[in-house]
Symmetry: C2
Amino acid sequence: MYSSKIESFLKKKGITVGDRIEVKSGKGTFEGLLMPRIQGEEDILVLKLDNGYNIGLKFEEIDIKLIEKAKPRKKMPEAKEEKGEITILGCGGTIASKIDYKTGAVYPAITPEELRMTFPEIDKMAKIRSKSLFSLLSENMNAEHWKIIAKTISDEIKDGARGVVIMHGTDTMHYTSSALSFMLQNLPVPVVLVGAQRSSDRPSSENEMNMMNAIYCAKKDIGEVGVCMHASMNDDYCYLHHGTKVRKMHTSRRDAFRSINSAPIAAVNYRNDMFEVLSEYRKSSPKENFKVNTKINDNVALIYTHPNMKPELVESLGKYDGVVLVGTGLGHAPTNPSNDKIVKPILPAVKGLIDSGIPVVMSSQTISGRLCMRVYAAGRMLMNAGVIGDGADWTPETAYTKLCWVLGQTKDMKKVEELMMENVAGEISGRSLPMEEY
Amino acid sequence: MYSSKIESFLKKKGITVGDRIEVKSGKGTFEGLLMPRIQGEEDILVLKLDNGYNIGLKFEEIDIKLIEKAKPRKKMPEAKEEKGEITILGCGGTIASKIDYKTGAVYPAITPEELRMTFPEIDKMAKIRSKSLFSLLSENMNAEHWKIIAKTISDEIKDGARGVVIMHGTDTMHYTSSALSFMLQNLPVPVVLVGAQRSSDRPSSENEMNMMNAIYCAKKDIGEVGVCMHASMNDDYCYLHHGTKVRKMHTSRRDAFRSINSAPIAAVNYRNDMFEVLSEYRKSSPKENFKVNTKINDNVALIYTHPNMKPELVESLGKYDGVVLVGTGLGHAPTNPSNDKIVKPILPAVKGLIDSGIPVVMSSQTISGRLCMRVYAAGRMLMNAGVIGDGADWTPETAYTKLCWVLGQTKDMKKVEELMMENVAGEISGRSLPMEEY
C-alpha cells in the first residue's frame, strides 16, 4: 500500500496498480506500469519502465496521467493431452513467473502451455507435450514434491516421451536435481531441469535460451538427470550440468549455476547445434532397465557448524533419522583434541547421535574440494565416532538428498554407511588410490 | 592401532610409529617414516616417503627393517620478550603444524619462534616479536578466543607494534578475520591473518610464502584486518583479502581463500616488492582514534535452510539472542505464499522468534551475490516478519560474526537492525540507488 495521500489521489484518477501511466517529475517524463509500493518510503511511487527497470519517483514532484488500464490476465487453454516427443513439466519458479501487480511480488504463473505461446520456437524444436505439476517458488519444495515429479517423469517415459524437461525454480533446483538422480535409475531418456534467474517480463529474461537449450539436450542420447542453465552472463550458450554436481552459486547472476568438483556434461547451443562434451556422462539405458525408486526419508536435518556452536543444538536432533553436518575445511567440527578450556566441542553430542542409531554425514562449507578426515585430529575423532563421508566430494545439498534417499532404502547403520560411500549417481567422483596426497 | 599381528611384529623389531624404516614389498623397496594406521584396513602399513607422500603397503607382502629411531622433539626456546616492529601471534592451525607421529594427525605445534628458526628469512623482513596465544585447530575457536586475540593485538599496538601478523588455522580464519574487523576500529596498523593449507613438513607447504607476504603486508599503510593467502596454485604470489569479504572456498587447494562480492585489497609478492592494489582499502588511522570493542554475544545460531526443514527446529531457537539464516537465492526460506498443501513453511516460526525479541538476519547459500528480498513473495513475507538483511552482500559467516558483535552493543531490536544494515567494516559493499534492477 502507498500512503493514504497517494492512494486517494490514484483512486480519484481511476488508476490502480498494473495500469500504464505517464508521470511527469523533476527528473523527466516517464511512461510505464504502476508497481505496488516496494518496502521503504510510502510516498515513493514505483514505475516499471518499458526497458524492464523500475524507477522510484517522489510523489510531491509528479504529475500523473492514465494511459491504459491493466488488461485482465488471459485464461489459457488447459494442457493438451496429446502425446509428444518431449514432455515439459511445470513446477513453477522464475522461468514460469510474471509479476503479480496486485502484490508486487514475482510469482509463478506461467504454465508450460503459456510458455509455448510466448516462445513459438519451442514447437519447432520438437513435438511437445506439457503438463503443470505445481506453481511453486522452489524454496517451498520438499521430498513430497520430488516424489510427485519422479513419478510423473516415470509415467511420461513409460508413455513414450523421449526426453523430459522440468521447469523449476532456481533456489533449490540442485536439491531436486540430485534427489531425482537418486530416484531415477538407469534412465532411458534425458531428464533436464531448467530455470531462469529473471522473470519472463523482464528485458534480460533468459527463459527462451535456457528453455530451447533444455529441449535440445532432452533430445540427446543421455541417461541422467541434468540442469541446463546459462553458462555466461551473455545469451550465448548454456551448460548442461550433472544433476548431483551442480549448485546455485550467485543470488542473481544469469550464470549462477556452476558445476562443483566436476566439469559440466557439455556446453550447448541449439542455435548452431553445439553439444561440446566436457565430461563423461551416462548414455541412455535400455528402457527395460529403468527403475524408479522414490522411497525417501525426509526426516533428515542439515546443520551448519560454526564457532560458538552449542552442543545442545546437536543433542536436540535425537528425533531425526539422519543428520548432515556442513562442517569446515576437510570435514571438521569442534572436537577439542588439545583440551583447551574455552573450547566447547560438539563431538560428544555427535557421537551420542550416532550411538543412538542416527547416521551423521559430513560435508564442507568450502563447497569445493574433497573431504579428507584423516589428516587432522578433528577429522579422525569424528571418523572414530562414526561420522560418514571421508573421501567424498559431494556438495552439502547432494549429501543431504542422498542421505534422505539412502534412509528410504535402509535404516541399518552399516548399510547406510556402505550406500552413502557408494557412487550411486555420479555424486562421488573417482580418485586414484592407494598413493595419494593426504 | 594396527592389527595385533602387526603390532606384535613391530614390537619384536623395536619399531614404533615415527621411526624411519625400510620396507620391501612386491611393489618395490621403500624407505620412510612409519605412520600410524589410517582408518581402513588394519593390515595396511602406512609409510611417509621422503617426497612427503604416504603409501599403503599390505603387511603380508612386506619385509621390514629399522633404519633410525624417531628423534624426540626438540624443546624450543620461549618467545623472546623484546620489542619488535612486527608482532607475530600464534593461534595454531596448519601453518604452525607438524604431524604428530604418535596419533598420526596433524596438530598445531610450531610456535612463532620455531617458525622463525625454520624460515630465517623472516628476520630479514622486519624486527619480529612473537607470541604464542593458543595451539588450536581453528574449528575449535570461538568468541572467547576472538576477544583474547583482539585484546592482545590492542596491547601490541599500544606497545609500539607497527603491524600484527596472526598465524591461524584456515577452517574458520574468515570468521575470526571478520570478528576482528568489527572489534578493532580505526586501526592504526595492519592486522594480517595468515595460514597454510599444508603442514610445514609437507613438500608443498606454502607456509613460507604466505608468511613472508603477510609480514610484507603488515609493514604497509593499511588500517584494516586482512587475510593473506596464496592467490594461485603456484607459489608465485598472494592475495591480501578484506577481512569481512573473504571465505575458504576449497577443502584443500592452496588458493582456497577467495574474496566474495569484492576484489581483494591487493595482489602481493614480497620477492619483487609487488603490492598491486585491486580494491579500495582503509589507510592507517591516527593512533589516538584506535578503539577496541570486544563486547560480543556468542549466543547466536547459524541455521541453514533446506527442503524438508522442520519448523520445530526454528521454534527451538528461543533461547538464543539472535539467529542468522543461511537461506536460498536472493534471501528466501519456505514461506508458502501459494498455500500449497504439502509445503511446511518456517515463516511462522521465524516470525515467532522475531516477535519474542530475537533478531533474525538473512544470508544466502549461494555465497556470492547480494540479497534482494523485495522481488519474490518469500522475501517480502520474511521482510514483513522483520527479517534483517535486504540489500546486504555479506557472506553467511560475516553476517554471523556481525550479529554476535552487534548483540554485544545493543539488544534493542530497532538498533540491532540499524547497526546490522550500517556498513561498519566494509562488510556491505555500496550500490547505486534509486534506479536499480530488482
